[in-house]
């Protein structure tokens, strides 16, 4: 999940995010994070809850499945726009009053949308929980979508989108998804484009909320200092009046197209930003964990991946080089990227392709596998050292359907992976992998692309 947010994050930041988003929970953690309770409210809403009174705070993360893939074909950016609008006034409170009420109690309430989910988060001092849940209730059940706020938020999204046209990673990512998924929601920009955002109207926002914010596609995780019964009451206050069932349009399973193609997007900058990718693997696939380990060794999140060593350390070609597995709901992807000076872009790409081919053919060494497993199991606990992180993990585990005992099982799953498993995953993922490559910049002439 959460790969709507993918746009060429770098280095360790990227690595951390991947670990968090893809691999979700980590090993020995369960003993440390307190008991995870699966609670079902009187209205039938399920939430996962960890009571933690160490600090007087409360963190809640929730998600409605659907996200930007539910945007109408000619209104890309609607989910994102709606997310930006939900705290712009609700009930009797106009935008300013609503924001001031949040501020007065230091309540953080925010919404976001990615390709597969529409998300919200709430962080509050426990003493102000009643006000926080009241404002949450209003935002979900009675958004105003005043025209003034719509115009203002539209201007801000359009300005941000225009700014991104200078961000080579962003340009490359948009082009990659557009080329890989023509005529599919995943090919459309999550934040929309000039035309689609300009055409979003008030009734569309209401329609999006009505169809997408329902109880049937809702997952909730809460960590913090609150009494369980009171939490149940507050959750029902906020969510129980939502429609029972979401009206989601069907999204087709899809595999990336245009593999083997190399496109250059001209941007007058001293570097070339490269994004490459091909088919990956879905989260529920039995080979997902072997594939995850494979990717960790190739281009994953530590300072010891093959791509990091070959492209950065040995040759000094780039500050950042990475690969990762993006597990969207309707597609699995293998994606990666780097940025290097224009006159050496071809060389960087060639090295990356060589490394992919090499690991596809030979698999990892025994030492690399042992080290990867050691890293992944050892670092699992680091994803649980704040209450906000614990809540985020619990939400991801629900969204990926991994089961409430996943945290206990996860390190065993990693440790059980054999060399053979990784080799098999490498063959499946990378053996005849033609990459779709997008290069943004002014790269010196490339070697002839293979096929198209």
């Amino acid at each position: 999940m959460t790969f709507g947010a993918f746009r060429g994050m770098r280095g360790i930041v990227k690595g951390l995010l991947m670990a968090l988003a893809l691999f979700s929970a980590s090993g020995a953690a369960d003993a440390q994070i307190g008991k995870i309770e699966r609670v079902v409210t009187p209205a039938g809403i399920e939430l996962w809850f960890v009571k933690d009174d160490t600090l007087p705070i409360l963190s809640m993360y929730f998600a409605f499945e659907g996200g930007a893939s539910q945007d109408p074909a000619d209104r890309a950016g609607l989910a994102y726009f709606t997310a930006a609008m939900l705290d712009e006034g609700a009930g009797d409170l106009d935008a300013r009053t609503f924001q001031e009420r949040l501020e007065r109690r230091a309540i953080s309430l925010s919404f976001s949308a990615d390709r597969d989910t529409f998300r919200g988060s709430l962080r509050v001092l426990s003493e102000h929980r009643a006000e926080a849940f009241e404002l949450l209730r209003l935002s979900l059940n009675a958004p105003r979508f005043d025209q003034e706020a719509i115009d203002r938020i539209r201007a801000s999204i359009l300005a941000a989108n225009r700014r991104s046209q200078n961000n080579p990673d962003e340009v490359a990512s948009l082009r990659w998804f557009a080329s890989a998924f023509p005529n599919h929601p995943y090919g459309r920009p999550v934040k929309g484009d000039e035309a689609s955002v300009s055409g979003i109207e008030r009734n569309m926002l209401f329609a999006y909320v009505k169809k997408n914010l329902a109880r049937s596609n809702l997952k909730i995780a809460v960590v913090g200092s609150i009494d369980r019964d009171e939490l149940v009451r507050l959750i029902d206050d906020s969510f129980s009046k939502l429609p029972a069932k979401a009206e989601l349009s069907q999204v087709a399973e899809v595999t990336p197209q245009s593999l083997g193609r190399r496109d250059v997007v001209d941007l007058n900058i001293p570097q070339t930003a490269i994004i490459f990718g091909s088919s990956g693997i879905k989260r529920q696939d039995p080979d997902f964990i072997p594939a995850f380990i494979l990717n960790h060794i190739l281009g994953g999140g530590s300072f010891s991946s093959r791509l990091y060593r070959e492209v950065r350390e040995k040759r000094g070609l780039a500050y950042s080089v990475y690969s990762h597995l993006a597990t969207l709901d309707y597609a699995g992807l293998f994606l990666g990227g780097t940025s290097t000076r224009n006159d050496r872009a071809a060389e960087a790409l060639q090295i990356i392709e060589q490394e992919i081919a090499r690991i596809a053919k030979e698999g990892p060494t025994a030492e690399e596998l042992a080290q990867a497993k050691s890293y992944l199991t050892g670092s699992y606990l680091l994803h649980f050292d704040t209450s906000a992180k614990v809540a985020q993990q619990l939400l991801e585990i629900q969204l990926e359907n991994l089961g409430i005992d996943y945290i206990e099982r996860r390190n065993k799953l990693v440790n059980a992976v054999t060399e053979e498993d990784v080799r098999r995953a490498a063959k499946r993922l990378l053996a005849d992998s033609k990459l779709l490559v997008i290069m943004v910049g002014r790269p010196a002439p490339l070697a002839k692309a293979n096929g198209g």
Binding site: I33, S110, N268, Q271, T377, L381
Partner: protein
Amino acid sequence: MPGPLYLHREFGRLLERLGAFHKVKNFVMSAIAICAAASSAAVVLPATRADAQGLQVSEFKLENGLQVIVIPDRRTPVVTHMVWYHVGSADETPGKSGLAHFLEHLMFKGTDKNPGGKFSKVVATIGGQENAFTSQDYTAYFQRVTKENLEQVMTFEADRMTGLHLTDDVVLPERNVVLEERRTRTDNDPAAQLAEALTAALYVNHPYGRPIIGWMHEIRQLDRQSALDFYKRFYTPNNAVLVLAGDLDEKEARELAAKTYGKVPRLLEIAPRVRPVEPEPRAHRRISLADQRVRQPSLSRYYLVPSYRTGEGNEAEALEILSHILGGGQTSRLYHALVVEKGIAANAGAWYQGTALDATRFSVYASPRPGVALADLETALDQVIEQIIEKGVSADEMDRVKTRIIASTIFSQDNQTTLARIYGAALTTGLSVDSVKEWPNRIRAVTPEQVRDAAKKWLDLRRAVTGHLVRPETVPEKRT
């Protein structure tokens, strides 16, 4: 990656990840608390609240002069281990800009005792996370590990304090990495180039005017010997702060520190950090960066203002509050006037980088909606500032902002790494543990009059540089 987290953009990325890219507002506090101790932009200094949740921060010194800060957080058996050196880009010799940051990269290249990438390999094997960052005033290295691995990484980090070993076959490729980093962060992006130019223009005498990453032509000339010389000048236990945050207490920290860092010799005495002081500024400066790539023009201004260390009384706290009232999110004056009421801006805001050893920056910025001239936007922005100077701020605004700032100090306690960064950044910019602890109380004590006075005294155009980011076609200056 070993790399600095010094730019606004890093900050932007974080917000983007959280899905709040275009609407900073409520995220401002938390995002700042999470990442900005290491950022030159908008550093807030969340601290522990003196009442209710007594965070037990302790402090001691080893015989070799290493200062140690211990911040217990016993919820998870994880520890954040950081070493902060009192050295940053402002301590470089003129002509060698980027050296502090280049050395930070080279610190991952091995020591006599642990050659090559052995340290990183061990960190990866035990499942630790590591990184480093450089600012104008400090350079810091950290690992996050499970408790049983703490002693091991402390042993490695202590060794790296004095044992660095460099050869040209690792130094030269790494210099290329840094050149690529500069291209990625700055040269690809006109807005980043404008920010660099604004900083350079603001400081006419002080080394804060140099970019942390260095000027391109000077990075190209950095070499092994200059890195080693710099290392030998500044890397010694008596010029560093060790911060341990997580699952340990003071007693354990003392034992581990003595066993590891305690064995590192005090190599040299460190002279006080006295940098050339800025003259009293007298002329408002204007710069304009015109680039065909610009699709969204913008305007930003930096004022030269006191930092937490240099401010008198609670001047810095007043500037902190002023930055929130003026431009901290959607309820702020700038947002309300320019984005909501007049509808001439797509966004607008302000920030204050209080965490700095010397005179620092206060910034206001705005992006116009299509068809609005930057000159007109600037006039409207100036009116907002003038109104605060003339009429002051309301008690209600003060209350809301104080609540938010003080709450952020409680939220920061949820994250041991955030706490470690807050203390590390404070102690390497001339503040004390007590000053961090007392910060919420000092924020509480600020009066509306002091905020108004701060605006009047410091938001004076003579102290400022105003920058316009435009496309060449729109360059003609329309003066109103």
